[in-house]
């Protein structure tokens, strides 16, 4: 019901939206809650457990009842607070957790069974018969639980994340926050002022009191106008600070376009902010608390502050016949505002007996209480208990005030606990709970407008002092300064169920029962009853519940303590905090210089860490990847193959102590390596397991270039930095990653030299470039590097050029190799080629294997210390019984080998206690015409020729295999030297 002439809504802009399929009208500036109330709609939801009818309780984000689903299809967002969602033309909303309709909800039958569904009932039953829990009970419970529903479709909206930095973050733009921001901004500080509401001003927009010579709302708008004209101020409305983190870092969620239909142009729905502030003023206000009494949950029962907000800001009276129930003076303020607006106030029930009512324009019941309500889906009457007995009053709205709880939440996010103040019967923030934060105004227990304005100035000055800035003078305007007189009243005595947590259906009785069952710790009570675990996290109910618990256990409230306040202050969508992660945004993509050409050739790309590498290069007529792979293996074994190996880590190491460093990080000796030569090295972690392997070339006396595996490049770089900075800063050596600076290609096969000799500017031969030689070469006038190394066992080279020439060189290599009967090869062929030679990768050195395990124990030089040497010698790491590297061949040529299969003695039962090892790598060897594998077998080197069982339970494969040396081709290594 609108009340003419009041409010801050824009009556010139009519807005139409729908709720549960019915279209309603409202005005710009309305929330769904205010517009529905204006249309006389009181029933907006159903509670979680008993499906009791629910109407709006509050006018803010603390709302436990009026939760709706907004939008359609993939854009539907469940559990949106109707008190926060602004209306716009075309907005579609619907109710939740009710079937077949909100008015008539079948599940409301739960309420009839409530005596059997009290606190923790499910822990005591549903146990028989045993299988019924999962088969029958749990599915029913799951289906009944939950509130809104996800659409089930992938997110189609845009979300963003951003960083902001400032001198001062002011949280809350009520009278306190505005004054704090103004004080700091006028003094030149960089200020960010955030407020959850669409309209800054806080309670000033909901109250009738004047500030200075203006209404509070007009004064607030004036301050906002001044601030918005200042370059050092950033105003962020519709932004809620959700969490406080270390280093004065604040998380905040901004509703960027949830208040209008416009989603084009990449405009995000919401943005998650990380705000780093040198100082913070918290002016988050307070949240009004209800009073518990029988049937206090009926739609039409609201907090008094919410009634004033709907009346004064949104021009809506939530009822025609309103009663007010309170234990403090705010109740009277509510009654006065209603009367002034022409609303019929049936009575004011003040729990305080000694209250001075003056000449009230409404009936006052002093020392009285509301003890029950009547009605079905909406409030129709209340029962008032006075000294003379119980009286029924016909009302359609009851405004309740049990006092105010300062919004201490953010001050507790860093493990601070709030402090109880007896005079206001509420918890306030504990001094210093968050470093570099000043708490002011209502959230610090300061309640009058005048006191808040002054506290805001004081907080602004305190912030300036902390920032080391000089203060500017700010005049504090005149405003109401009424005292806050309150007599505690948490629950009205009586029969029936008096509700605390409206969403989770927790009553005073539930709390008392929990205490009787010895769930006396506030944490136990919460977990047993689910008090405060609903979507509002008990913002309006937790303190009341713990007051009941304190009473039930004979303790004082501060002794009982609060549960832990945790981020986020309001729920934040996963899409917002995970913005950028959807699809390929989750991790960077690294492309080699040959990437484009490789894709053009139709090669399927596979992920190798962050890199992409070709799996194989398919040719017309090939039906399976195996055919392509076999052909590519043939290139290398019979002609020449080309492969981009740029993804391997490359670290340039220079300095007089470079050799020392290498000797220390590798198990073997590098300081004796001659210039122009390459050596294979094995690198351990300090715990003795293998970290990585690769080749390192000596380009000059003080100059090496190390290669790492693709996977370990970052870890090795960090390791070298650790060794040089933390263990041996006295060594003169410097290094840098050059992985991206050089494009490098393997040219492998009997015709490798023939290919190169058409390409490099000066021909090479076996004498100038023997196996493991390296040095500069000129390629079309470009200085590159040539390494004669092989990961295939064939005569092979790796040719490196600066990256900008990589794409051109790859094209050239592919063309030349094809002319020689070869071509490019991918990861599948590379894997077969290296298995055939027994070369290890991270399938073998997977993090648990030692040098001993991979048959390289003797590579740990006895002549010097190195990282990992001492721990590698631990008795448990050199036991003969450890699984060690072997080759595996099927006894029958068509026998299958599978990676991850386990090894057992022939004929042994394939159970854990008989486990002998596992298969680490497998591939089909075209040369041998069968599958081959590498694996780890207990006492492997002593078991050559033994026939054992390979069992792959999960793939259903069992194969009899022969243990062999892990080299299948050219065991003497003649080809590589040819």
């Amino acid at each position: 019901m609108r009340v003419a002439g009041k409010g801050l809504i824009d009556r010139s802009r009519r807005v139409r939206f729908s709720f549960d399929g019915k279209t309603y009208g409202g005005f710009a500036g309305d929330t769904v809650a205010s517009a529905l109330l204006a249309n006389g709609v009181k029933l907006m939801g159903r509670s979680f457990k008993y499906h009791r009818p629910r109407g709006v309780l509050s006018a803010g984000s603390e709302e436990p009842n009026a939760l709706i689903t907004v939008g359609k299809g993939a854009q539907a967002e469940p559990n949106v607070r109707a008190t926060v969602q602004e209306i716009y033309d075309g907005l579609v909303t619907r109710s939740q957790n009710a079937w077949p309709s909100l008015d008539f909800d079948v599940m409301a039958a739960n309420d009839l069974a409530a005596p059997f569904l009290g606190a923790g009932f499910y822990y005591k039953t549903f146990m028989w018969p045993k299988r019924f829990w999962e088969a029958v009970y749990e599915p029913i419970i799951r289906k009944a639980a939950g509130l809104g529903a996800l659409s089930g479709q992938s997110n189609v909206d845009t979300y963003e994340k951003a960083f902001a930095f400032c001198d001062l973050l002011v949280i809350g733009a009520g009278p306190t926050g505005l004054m704090a921001a103004l004080t700091a901004a006028r003094a030149g500080a960089d200020v960010v002022l955030v407020d959850e509401d669409s309209l800054m001003g806080g309670r000033l927009n909901a109250e009738t009191g004047a500030v200075g010579h203006q209404s509070g709302a007009v004064w607030a708008a004036g301050v906002v106008a001044e601030l918005s004209g200042m370059e050092n101020v950033r105003l962020m409305s519709r932004t809620t600070v959700t969490g406080v983190y270390d280093g004065s870092t604040y998380g905040a969620i901004e509703r960027v376009s949830q208040h209008h239909a416009e989603r084009s142009g990449g405009r995000p729905v919401a943005c998650f902010w990380r705000i780093v502030a040198r100082h913070c003023v918290l002016a988050a206000g307070a949240i009004e608390r209800p009073i518990a009494f029988q049937n206090n949950d009926r739609p039409g029962v609201m907090t008094a502050g919410a009634v004033r907000a709907y009346l004064n800001r949104w021009d809506v009276s939530p009822g025609k016949r309103v009663a007010v129930f309170g234990n403090n003076d705010d109740a009277h303020r509510t009654a006065r505002d209603l009367v002034a607006a022409g609303v019929h106030v049936v009575g004011l029930i003040d729990a305080r007996a000694d209250v001075d009512v003056g000449d009230a324009a409404y009936p006052v019941f002093a020392g009285a209480q509301v003890c029950n309500t009547g009605g079905r889906n909406a409030l129709e009457s209340i029962t008032v208990r006075t000294a003379t007995g119980e009286h029924a009053l016909q009302v359609d709205c009851l405004a309740v005030s049990g006092g105010w709880n300062p919004t201490v939440h953010l001050t507790c996010h860093m493990n601070g606990r709030p402090t109880w103040r007896e005079d206001i019967q509420a918890f306030v923030p504990t001094e210093g709970a968050v470093p570099d934060m000043t708490v002011a105004g209502a959230c610090n227990g300061v309640f009058s407008t005048a006191a808040c304005l002054a506290d805001g100035v004081a907080a602004g000055k305190a912030a300036l002092k902390a920032l080391g800035k000089r203060t500017a003078e700010v005049e504090v305007p005149v405003a109401e300064d009424a005292p806050y007189a309150l007599e505690p009243l948490w629950a009205v005595a009586g029969k029936g169920r008096a509700w605390l947590d409206f969403q989770n259906d927790v009553s005073v009785k539930d709390i008392r029962q929990a205490a009787a069952e010895n769930f006396k710790s506030v944490e136990h009570m919460k977990r047993y009853t689910t008090q405060g675990m609903a979507t509002d996290q008990g913002k309006s109910s937790n303190i009341g519940a713990l007051a009941i618990l304190a009473d039930a256990t004979g303790r004082a409230i501060p002794e009982t303590g609060t549960t832990t306040y945790r981020p986020p202050f309001v729920p934040v969508s996963i899409a917002a905090m995970g913005a950028g992660g959807q699809g390929h945004g989750f991790a960077p993509e690294r492309w080699t210089t040959s990437h484009k050409r490789t894709e053009e050739m139709g090669a399927p790309m596979i992920e190798a860490g962050l890199w992409y590498r070709p799996s194989y290069f398919p040719k017309a007529g090939e039906a399976t990847w195996r055919e392509s792979c076999d052909r590519e293996v043939g290139y290398v074994r019979k002609a020449v193959g080309v492969c981009d190996v740029s993804t391997l880590g490359k670290i340039d190491i220079q300095g007089p102590d470079a050799g020392k460093l290498l000797d220390f990080v590798y198990t073997n000796v590098f300081s004796t390596l001659k210039v122009g030569r390459v050596r294979y090295g094995l690198m351990l972690r300090e715990d003795g397991t293998v970290m990585d392997d690769g080749t390192t070339a000596r380009l000059g006396d003080d100059h090496f270039v190390m290669t790492t595996t693709t996977a370990a490049a970052g870890a090795v770089m960090r390791h070298l930095e650790f060794v040089s900075q933390c263990l041996h800063p006295e060594w003169e050596v410097a290094f840098t990653s050059v992985t991206e600076q050089w494009a490098q290609f393997a040219v492998a096969g009997p015709k490798a030299r023939e290919l190169l000799n058409g390409l490099v500017d000066a021909p090479i031969d076996g004498e100038s470039w023997p196996f493991m030689a390296c040095g500069p070469v000129s390629v079309g006038g470009v200085t590159g590097r040539l390494f004669r190394i092989s990961f295939s066992g064939e005569h092979a080279y790796e040719l490196a050029v600066p990256s900008r020439y990589g794409a051109a060189l790859f094209d050239e290599l592919v063309a030349r190799s094809e002319k020689l009967g070869g071509g490019p090869y991918g990861m599948e062929a590379l894997n077969v080629l290296r298995i055939e030679k027994g070369f290890i990768t991270h399938a073998e050195i997977e993090g648990r294997a030692t040098a001993f395990d991979v048959g390289m124990g003797r590579m740990i030089s006895a002549k010097k210390d190195c990282i990992g040497k001492v721990m590698a010698a631990r008795p448990g790491l050199v036991e003969e019984d450890r699984p060690q590297l072997v080759g595996l061949r099927p006894v029958k040529a068509d026998g299958a080998l599978t990676g991850g299969a386990h090894l057992f003695d022939a004929g042994a039962e394939p159970v854990r206690v008989n486990h002998q090892g596992h298969v680490s790598s497998v591939g089909f060897s075209p040369d041998l015409g069968c599958m081959i594998g590498l694996g780890f077998l207990r006492r492997g080197p002593a078991r050559m020729g033994e026939v054992i069982d390979m069992v792959d339970h999960v793939r259903g494969v069992q194969t009899r295999v022969t243990v062999c040396a892990p080299v299948f081709i050219d065991p003497d290594g003649e080809r590589v030297r040819g």
């Binding site: 983190y245 270390d246 280093g247 004065s248 870092t249 990380r274 780093v276 860093m414 493990n415 470093p435 300090e686 715990d687 960090r718 930095e721 650790f722 900075q725 933390c726 263990l727 800063p729 006295e730 210390d865 040497k869 001492v870 721990m871 631990r874």
Partner: protein
């Protein structure tokens, strides 16, 4: 959490790699014995309070840092170049 890198200034924690207690600076001699090596690599004081630990500004300058930090409050009270700490101990 923000760490004041001596070379780069205050940066968000996400730029840094954490390794562990700063005891890793004091690598035992190869012949120090089983107990010393076990203590170096495995055993930790693990205080609930102030501790010294090694971080690397991996996504920044690459410097290894010795950070003095409280494991209960997360307050960082000192950041030094690990290299300087190690040199002073040599």
């Amino acid at each position: 959490m923000r760490i004041d890198c001596p070379l780069c200034g205050a940066r968000d924690r996400r730029e840094f790699y954490y390794q562990g207690a700063a005891v890793m600076l004091a690598r035992p001699a190869p012949d120090a014995g089983e107990a010393a090596w076990d203590a170096y690599l495995h055993l930790r004081d693990n205080p609930a309070g102030q501790t010294r630990e090694l971080w690397q500004h991996e996504a920044g300058c690459g410097a290894w840092l010795m950070v003095t930090r409280d494991t209960v409050s997360h307050v960082i009270s000192g950041v030094e170049m690990a290299e300087d700490v190690k040199r002073a101990a040599l």
